[in-house]
Every structure is written in C-alpha cells, then in structure tokens.
Symmetry: C2
C-alpha cells in the first residue's frame, strides 16, 4: 500500500511538472509573439491553452482519487493539497499567456510604440520564477521558494516603472493610447503570473514545513493603475 | 465519529460563510468609497483585508486538520477540497476590494470624470454573484451555481462597454487619462471578483455532482485592453 502510494505520488508529480513546462513555454512563446510579431507563436499559445485546461482536470482528478482511495496522512496529505492549489495557479498562468498573445495580436496591427526592452526582461524573470517555484516543490527546497517570493518584489517594481512610462506616452500623444493600453495589459499579465508563482512558492513552504507564510512574507499585491 | 465529523463540517461551513460575508461587505464598502468619495470607507476596506487573510488561514487549517484526523470520504471529502479552493478565491476577492478602495483614494483627489452609473451597477451585480455562489454551496444548489456562471458573461459585457467608453475619454482629452485608468482599474477588479465567484460556482458543481464543469460552461475570461 505504502509503495503503491509512492508510485501514485511520483506519477502525479511528473504530470504536474509536465503541466508547468507547458505553461512556462506558453509564457516564452507569448513573448516571442510580442517581440518578433510572430503570428504562428500567437496561434500556438492560444491553442495550447486547451491542453493546460485538460491537464488541470486530470491532475485534480488524480488527487481526488488518491485522497479517496489511499487516505494519505501528514506530509503526503499536505503534498496533495498543495498540488490541487498549484494546478489552479498554473491554469491561470496559462490564461495570462493567452491574454498576452491576444494583446500581441492587436499590437501587430500597428507599428511598434517603442522598442521592447523591459517587457522581454520582465518575461524572462517571470519564467524563471515559474520554473523555480516548481523546482522548489520537487526538491522540497524552501530556500528557493523564499527566493521566488522575494523576486516578486522586483517584478512589482518593474511593473510600476512601465506603468509610469506608458502613462506619459498616453498623456503626451493620445494617438499612442490604444497601443500603450495593450502594452500595459501585457505587463499586468506578467505581473499576475509572478503572483501565481509566489502563491505556488508559499504552498511549497506549507507543504514542506507545515507553516503558513501567506500574508507574512513580503508579498505586495499593489496594483498601480490599470 | 460520524456525528463528530458532521459537527466539524458544520462549523467549517459557518466560518466560510462568515468569511464570505466580510468579503461581500468589503466590495460594497469599496463601492461607497468610490461613489460617495467616502474616506472612512476606504480605510475600512483596507483594514478588513487582514481579517480576511486571517480567516483564510484558519479555515484552511481546519480543513487540513479534518482531513488528517477524520479521513472523510466521498461527498465530505469533495466538500473539504471545495472549501480549500473557495478560501483562496475569497481571499483574492478581498484583495480586489482593496485595489478598488485604493483607486477611489486616488480618484478622490480630483473632480469626478463622469457620474458613476455603470460601476455601481456592476458592483451590485458582482456582490449578488458572490452571495449566490456561497448560497449555492450551502444549499447544494447546482442550478444557482450555473446561474452564477452565466451572470459572468453579463459582467464581461459591461466591462468591455466601460473599457471602450473610457478609452474614448482618454483619446479625446489626455487630461482625463489618469482618472480613466483608475476607473478602468475599478472595473477590472470587479470583473475579476466575478471570475472568482464563477470559480466558486464551478467548485460547488463539482462538490455536489462530482462532475467537472471547468472549461466547459461558457466561461469567457476575455480581457479587453488593460
């Protein structure tokens, strides 16, 4: 029985990691869609969203089934609860990647407002956070999870800086307003993905240590403007 | 044992409802903060966020404890899993109410851009959705849960309409841009609360029927602009 449970948990972990890899790739491709004005990347991100939705249902059902049939305890129970919360965060990250791809689609209909420098940097940082939050889960690495929580502050800083810059574009030249709003949407969705990675990192800390760090680690959910 | 479990679940349900009532009230007070330019309401919403954070931790810990000690099965197990997902949604609704109150704080420093008609209407609809999603849980009422999912489409429609209106303000007169962006932030946060209510409704359907309706009911997460 114990052995059987271990196998099931191992399989669950692999499926969750596969889901995470798809989501991470969607965020990377959404960035390509934006920066390289790549229509194929836009279509790919939108298409893969269904895959992530399906993976969420499968992983959740596996969790329910293990809970119901094997009645795991202690650390295994905390792991299952963490996984069920994490799938919801990953699924919403996938939605954010789709929102970015759709914004890119709109932006590609006009000349670029400005060279994209901060957004690709922000996207790369966010992708790291997603990967590291799942690495922290797999290796039960709470130090890495704490790092992810702290990185979120840098993302919030970048977002605020971008917000101010785009606001000044809009005020100086209203012809830029629509494009600036779409770029703001991209930045906000990246910032939201970072929040979800932070949620995952907090779930990892609870799973490993059994201590709840939500609302105690510096987790600023400040939003500036739209 | 069975009887003991029932008592624990009853207490859990009451605590969850109390948390829901606080969140619903925060959304209502955030609307007062905006429409009546009420500084006390702003402070109240920001203050109550801690209460919601604390309630989330308490309810989650109660769920863990019941899972670990009583090993509930079938419908009771699905209920506990639903509750753990619902607390996360309620907590994020509380964050959205805070974002709205903070936007109201910014908006109160300048004369109103326009009379607020659509936003209070949207806020009232969203508050109904929050209450109905929790009523659906308590009464195991899947028909009510399906209604909540459908109402979300109306909210998305209202959001898109407001977005277009605010965009035209910004383009016609850049002096309105900052205020329009803050109003857009309010609308977007209401739209996000509606999404969370929809998540709860979907969890209720899974809890009652054991069927997963995520990604199958018409649940559009379309975002227009920022």
């Amino acid at each position: 029985m114990e052995r059987h449970l271990d196998l099931q948990l191992e399989q669950l972990r692999n499926n969750l990691l596969r889901m995470g890899a798809v989501v991470e790739q969607m965020i990377a491709r959404a960035n390509v869609a934006l920066v390289e004005r790549d229509e194929a990347a836009i279509a790919e991100v939108i298409e893969r969203d269904h895959e992530v939705d399906q993976m969420e249902i499968e992983v959740d059902e596996a969790c329910h089934s293990i809970l119901a049939r094997m009645q795991p305890t202690a650390v295994d129970l905390r792991f299952l609860v963490a996984v069920m919360k994490i799938t919801a965060d990953l699924e919403r990250m996938g939605d954010s990647a789709v929102n970015i791809a759709q914004a890119a689609q709109q932006l590609n209909q006009e000349p670029p407002l400005k060279p994209y420098i901060d957004l690709p940097r922000m996207s790369a940082m966010v992708q790291d956070m997603v990967r590291e939050s799942l690495d922290a889960l797999v290796h039960r690495d709470t130090a890495l999870a704490v790092k992810v929580c702290k990185d979120d502050d840098n993302i919030d800083g970048l977002y605020k800086q971008l917000f101010r810059e785009l606001l000044s574009y809009m005020i100086e030249d209203p012809r830029t307003t629509t494009r600036a709003l779409h770029l703001l949407l991209v930045a906000r969705n990246l910032e939201r993905v970072a929040d979800h990675a932070t949620n995952i990192a907090e779930d990892v800390i609870y799973y490993v240590d059994g201590r709840d760090v939500r609302h105690s680690l510096a987790k600023s959910k400040v939003e500036t403007g739209a």
